[in-house]
Each structure stands twice: as structure tokens, then as C-alpha cells.
Symmetry: C2
Subunit: 446 residues, 2 copies
């Protein structure tokens, strides 16, 4: 694989905070957690299905492609119902690859929150359209998607017969248990399986992500080829200075130990908004436990240089920054010369917009460096499926190493239950009576 | 004004960190900065035009409404060109008030970044549409909007005559100076003025924000009425316990002094995404200087409870949270009972989606409270212009107080220049030759 087509990491602008000797000093620690990961003896070893997923998912591909083609041929929109890991991966890929003004709404999203007006608006909208539904939930009991699915089924049953509706619903869920699997058995929906050993935030390369991505018209073979190549690189190289995923994990760990506990994922590609959101879940949920972890946040540049830029340049110095750049955009927009140069921009004549954006990135990373904001850059070759597949796997591997370096289980998320338990209690769900009593006392300040 | 129609602040779930005695102890400090603000003797006193803006803008309203009506009657879309404060206020209002699936694209945005593919896509798209343009820039020299304006003019000149194009461009800029004002003089564009004493992030209630908001079809009279009522409340009450804007500023300051240096703006209303972005600029740019300030970030709930939720509940304890809730949504979606209850959701029968979202908020704030994440809540009565006008002014007043408590000038943004200077240098803009030499040395590591 040539350098031109591979994701790269540049840590040269971290230099006061992270130098090569910091990283090589971590090599024994890295070796230890890397071995535990690859030998499946680490914390959370029951959730390592993602490690080989770019290969193991292959048997599912014919069925995914067939149903995706059916959706593209027969529907205006696919309504994808899911939250967290059952939502962000597909949306990250689709938004990143889509044309922002022409076709990014082939897939609509529901069940990723409980917004009343949004829900009402979508329910109205789909009544005028020809739609399929992909409901994605491991258990089927997460309130947001379950509620969205109930409401959407009710609405669509006004225009589709029960048989027609059955044909238009595809469920992605547990292979045997849970209310959604039971509905599949009863109603005869077509379905895909969410494996027991793949957590939500590591599921984008499973049918959870692949079906919506394929239904939106993107090349899942290329996506998986990128992931496979990256998986090979990540797993085969043990040297922290030679393996970018290990290097990224080690650099973050070093920064964290030096008091940098907020990481800003700063993208120069506007279509990467949901890649940042996916990254935030991956890192925040994997590391943020036991009162530890780097808080993950994001910025969209150059937009946010005119909002967060002041703080990044001169505010409280607890931040570090990870730039995300794309080597090559899909289009070339050349800047014309203008007679008279009324706007003073003729110095940019014959340059491309992409070139200007590139120079803005270089200008920014050095400005931040000089402002004592240590930063590094992850660059993918181009805005395409192959590059994106690399990126997904790169971060999954890196966060596993990073979480293990922090001595937490990177694959659980015990804290997500707290609000759910309270919500079930306050909504009078059967079985939560004791929890409700405790909560009401708290609310009353007793 | 009744309690039902007024913004409210609840700080009861901060209690271990901020109690009433913390706030009353700050009363002398608050009195001092409040007097300096109202007497216009504080740092940055040349930039206090926003204080009386809800009244002073009135003379502009007839012209704004007239042009907005012309745009609505004659164009499919208004392309709004601006970045930072010339972008986020209008977008915050329009997105918050719009129906997410039916009409939120009456206004399109350009010049808020340098994304090549986005720019190319928009330029293609508008060629099929009937458009007006509002270019918003104080000086006209900010690269992003200036470049976008040049490219859009070139594209539109392929289908509109020079006279026709002149009629379709409205500039919002300095009253006398700068390249954009000069273009107004030369080309005869209609224009509005960006006053010298109103910084970008405080400009949403000026023509900068009001023209796009009115062109999108929203009621700017109601918006300003809300702002005027809030301005009256903010300015007339000096007691930190009785004035919510002072209380918010004092509570944040206390949290910051206790090591909480990241504030999460957590909204339960999905349409508030750009309100969070606007808030981030307002607070980040006003406070983040001299290596001080609370880092502003945001979450969209319940979506992000399935991504950042784990970190918020159990990660590094440097965070505090400000919930943003809306008392009343526009729609009511009732949850139906289903025979057999296959999805186990009949316990929600006959409840509304809004009710469930409300309970999710209550569940979350207590879960976070119990997880040692101090939180407070800002609630506006409903998803309408009057409520939003209150919210805008509330935050503007609060950040002025908060920045002054921190002993910084809340009205400047010196750090935003750093990347701009580097960018001009690296792009060979005339006049930046020395800067370029310095930068090249840095790049080469000399």
C-alpha cells in the first residue's frame, strides 16, 4: 500500500509536551496492553468482535447489498431508527460522503432523541413519501428508538397494509433475545444480527452501519477494504513510533498525564461533523469512567476559529487539539481574477478553494502551536469510502489501546444506565417502583 | 410579565458547589462590575451598543421588513454569507424556529468555512434556483465570506444581468469604510450598517441577524419584544439572587474557582443545535483570554446521553452542565396503546412525546447530580420568537458580567487574529512578507 493512500498521523507540533523519548519510554506499557488486546486477555475481552469484523462481516454482505439495492430502487427514503452506536456510525459515513445540497437526505434519522416537534415533522413528512424502515437496537428496549418505531409503525399503517409494512421494515437486533427479535419472529420482518461481542460504538462496520450506508448508495466493499488494510497495519506493527494507532494512543496518554484533559477534534472538512460526533462517543464512552479520561469535544474549521478560536488561542491551557484533514477533496473550485480587485482578493487568483483551505489549516496549526495549544494531525487521503474505512478502524484500535493504558475497561459503559433507570422510574415503568421512591425523595430534597 | 412567559434559571442542583451564601458573598463584586457595565466605564466600553440594541434598532425595522418581504416573495432561497457573529445568530434563530423537514432551507449559508466540496455543491445548487444574497462582513476582508461572495457573484453573473444581480445583493457592513462598503458605493447594492460599537457575537439583534431571520419568515417584532423585556429585567435588578443573569454569571464564576473549567450546554430540544453554537462563541470568545476562562462545549440530549453520557456520568470531574429546556413544544404527539404490547411500551400509552422528553430531562439532571456533575437549568417558555429574544439578551448580559468578574475585557477577541495573520502570510497576501518569513522559519523548525 503506497503512502499516498494511507492515513497518516503527524505529532511534530506536540513537541514540548510529547517527544519521541516519551513515547519509547511507554513501549513496555504499550507492549503489555497490546498483547492483552490481541490475545484477548484484556479487560472487556468479551467485546472484541470488532477486531476481526472487517473480515467476519463478509458473509453478511450479499444480503446487505441485496436489501440496500431494493431500498434504493423502491423508496424515496430509508428511515433509520437508532441511537448512540446504532446511529452515529452510519450517519458519520453518509454525511461525510454525501453531496451537502443534493442527496444527503436519502436516509432520515429517527429515535436518536425524544424531540416532539422533530418527531411530528418527520411523521408528517414520511406520509408524503415512499419509505423503508431500518430499526436498529440490540435489545429493543432503549426508549428512544422503541418509541420512535412504535410511532412510525402507527403512522405508516395508515397508508401501508400490514403485509406491505412487513416488507418495508428491516430490523437489526440481537440474534435470539429481546423485544425487537420477538417482533421479528412474530411479524416476519427481515433482519440482521447485532453480535454479542460487538459494542454499539464499535459496530459501524457491522450490519448496524453497513445497511444504511449501502442504502444511501455508498460502496461498502471499499469501506471494508480500507478497514481491513488498517486492521492489518494496526495489528502487525508493535513499535510505538512506527504504528500510528499506538502512537496516537501514547501521545494522548502523555498529554493527559501532563494536565491536558480536553481533546478538540478539529476538522477542516465540513462534511466531517458526524465523524466528530462518532469519535466523541468512541473516546468518551470508552475512557470516561472511574473519574478518569480526556473529555472529547470538536470544532469545525475554519467556522469555529470565529467562535472557539479565541479560547483555543488564548484561554485556559488544559486543551490539546487533533486536526482532521482530507488530502484531496472531490471537487476543484478555481478562484477567478476580478477586474479592479474591489474585494482585495486577486492575490488568490487561479488558486483553488481547496488550496486556500489547506493553507488555513497550516496557518492554524502553527498559530495554535505558538499559542501553547499542542496539536497533532490525522489525515486521510481523500473523501471516499476506502479512506473512511481506514479511519474508523484506526480510531477503534487506538481507543482500545488508550483505554487500556488508562487502566479502564474500554468496552463497557456502566454510566449510561443512570439516566435510563431514573427515566423508567419516573415514567412508571413496571418493575421500577423502588427506584421511583428513591428518586422522588431526592427530588423533594429529603 | 407573568412567570409563565419568562425565562427562568434553576441552580438548585449545584448545591454542594454553589450555595446562596457563595452568591451573596459575591454581591459587592457583582455590584462593582454591573455599575461599570451600565455606566459604560468597564473594559471594552466602546463596544456596548448591544446594551440598548433592542430599542435602538427600531428605526431599521421598516427597511428590514420591506426587503425581507421582497426576498420571501421573489426568491426560493436567500444565500447568507458570513462567519462567526455574522453567521451564528441568524442560523441559531432560524434553525430553532424552523420545521426540520419542511422549510429550514429557505436560508442557505456560505462563507462560514472554506470547504471546497460544500462550496462547489452550493454553487451548482443555486444555479437551479431563484436566489438573493445577503453578504455580512464588517470590513469585507475576512477571507471566508469575501471569497464566498466573489465566487457566488461570478456564478450568478452567468444567469443574472449586472443590474439584476445588483438588485439581488444586500450588504450588511461598516457604514463608511472597508472593501465591502466600497463595493456598495460602486455597485449600488442596498445595504445595512454594522455599528462600530457592536461586536459580531453581540449582533444578532441588529440587521446582521434580523434580515436573514425576517427573510426566513420569522417574527422579528416578537424577537425584539422578548429582548426588550429581558433587557429591562437584567438592567433593573441588582440583587444577585433575584436577577437570573447575575446569578448565572456568579454561579459559573464560583464553579470555575472550584476547578470546574468545562461547561456543557445540554439541550433537550434538537432544534437548539445552533443556539448552542452561538452560545459557545459568545462565552468562549468573551472569556477565553489571558489563559483564563471556562471552556464552552455542548451536548444534544437525549442523543448524546448515548455518546458523551458515560463521560458526563463517571469521567474526569472537571465539568459542570447547563441544561437548556423549552417549556412548551409546538406539537403534541400522543403515544398509542398497542395490542399485545410487543415492544413493552404500553406503560407510556396516552402520554405525549413531549412528556417523555420532559421526564428524560428530570431523570438526567438527577442522575448527573448523583454522579457529582453539578448542573443548572435555563428554561424558556416556548419554542417561539419572544422566548428566543429573551434568551439572546439574557446570555449577552450574563457574559458581560461573567467576563468582567474574571477581570478580562469581554468585548475583544485579540486571539482570532493569529491564524488570519499566518494565513495571509502563507497565501502571499501583499503586505505580509515579513510575517511569511517568520512563519516559514517556524515551519522548517529553525
Amino acid at each position: 500500500m503506497s503512502k499516498q493512500t494511507k492515513l497518516s498521523l503527524d505529532i511534530s507540533l506536540l513537541k514540548e509536551y510529547v517527544v519521541d523519548s516519551d513515547l519509547t519510554a511507554m513501549q513496555p506499557h504499550i507492549d503489555s496492553v497490546r498483547s492483552a488486546l490481541l490475545n484477548r486477555t484484556c479487560a472487556g475481552a468479551d467485546f472484541l468482535g470488532w477486531l476481526d469484523l472487517p473480515w467476519s462481516v463478509e458473509s453478511e454482505l450479499p444480503n446487505i447489498k441485496k436489501i440496500a439495492a431494493e431500498i434504493r430502487d423502491n423508496a424515496d427514503h430509508l428511515v433509520s431508527i437508532g441511537i448512540g452506536g446504532s446511529y452515529l456510525g452510519a450517519r458519520a459515513a453518509i454525511d461525510f460522503l454525501a453531496d451537502p445540497f443534493l442527496c444527503n437526505d436519502r436516509v432520515l434519522y429517527l429515535g436518536h432523541h425524544i424531540g416532539s416537534d422533530y418527531t411530528a415533522s418527520l411523521l408528517d413528512f414520511v406520509m408524503q413519501k415512499n419509505v423503508y424502515v431500518n430499526v436498529i437496537s440490540k435489545s429493543g428496549t432503549a426508549t428512544e428508538p422503541a418509541l420512535a418505531f412504535r410511532l412510525l409503525l402507527q403512522e405508516l399503517s395508515r397508508k401501508y397494509s400490514r403485509d406491505e409494512l412487513r416488507r418495508r421494515v428491516i430490523a437489526t437486533t440481537d440474534d435470539d433475545e429481546g423485544v425487537l427479535r420477538n417482533m421479528v419472529k412474530t411479524e416476519g420482518y427481515r433482519s440482521f444480527v447485532i453480535a454479542d461481542d460487538i459494542g454499539g460504538r464499535f459496530s459501524v462496520l457491522s450490519p448496524v452501519g453497513l445497511l444504511p450506508i449501502a442504502a444511501a448508495g455508498y460502496d461498502i466493499d471499499a469501506l471494508l477494504a480500507g478497514a481491513r488494510d488498517m486492521a492489518h497495519w494496526c495489528k502487525s506493527e508493535s513499535d510505538v513510533l512506527a504504528n500510528d494507532a499506538l502512537k496516537y494512543a501514547a501521545a494522548r496518554h502523555t498529554l493527559y498525564n501532563k494536565g491536558k484533559d480536553v481533546e478538540i477534534f478539529s476538522s477542516f472538512e465540513p462534511s466531517a461533523h458526524y465523524i466528530a460526533e462518532w469519535w466523541k462517543q468512541l473516546f468518551g464512552e470508552s475512557e470516561g469512567k472511574e473519574e478518569k479520561g480526556i473529555f472529547p469535544t470538536s470544532a469545525s474549521l475554519t467556522t469555529d476559529l470565529h467562535s472557539l478560536g479565541q479560547f483555543m488561542q488564548e484561554g485556559t491551557r488544559t486543551l490539546f487539539e487533533t486536526f482532521f484533514t482530507v488530502g484531496k477533496t472531490k471537487t476543484e473550485v478555481v478562484i477567478p481574477a476580478v477586474d479592479g480587485d474591489a474585494d482585495d482578493l486577486n492575490f488568490l487568483r487561479d488558486k483553488t478553494v481547496e488550496h486556500v483551505n489547506r493553507q488555513a489549516y497550516i496557518a492554524t496549526k502553527f498559530a495554535h502551536y505558538e499559542g501553547d495549544l499542542p496539536n497533532m494531525t490525522i489525515e486521510i487521503p481523500s473523501r471516499d469510502e476506502y479512506s473512511l474505512g481506514q479511519l474508523f478502524y484506526f480510531f477503534e484500535f487506538a481507543v482500545a489501546i488508550s483505554g487500556l493504558l488508562l487502566d479502564v475497561n474500554p468496552f463497557n459503559q456502566p454510566g449510561v444506565e443512570a439516566y435510563k433507570q431514573n427515566m423508567f422510574a419516573i415514567l412508571d415503568k413496571p418493575g421500577y417502583e423502588d427506584k421511583k421512591e428513591t428518586l422522588l425523595k431526592l427530588i423533594k430534597g429529603e
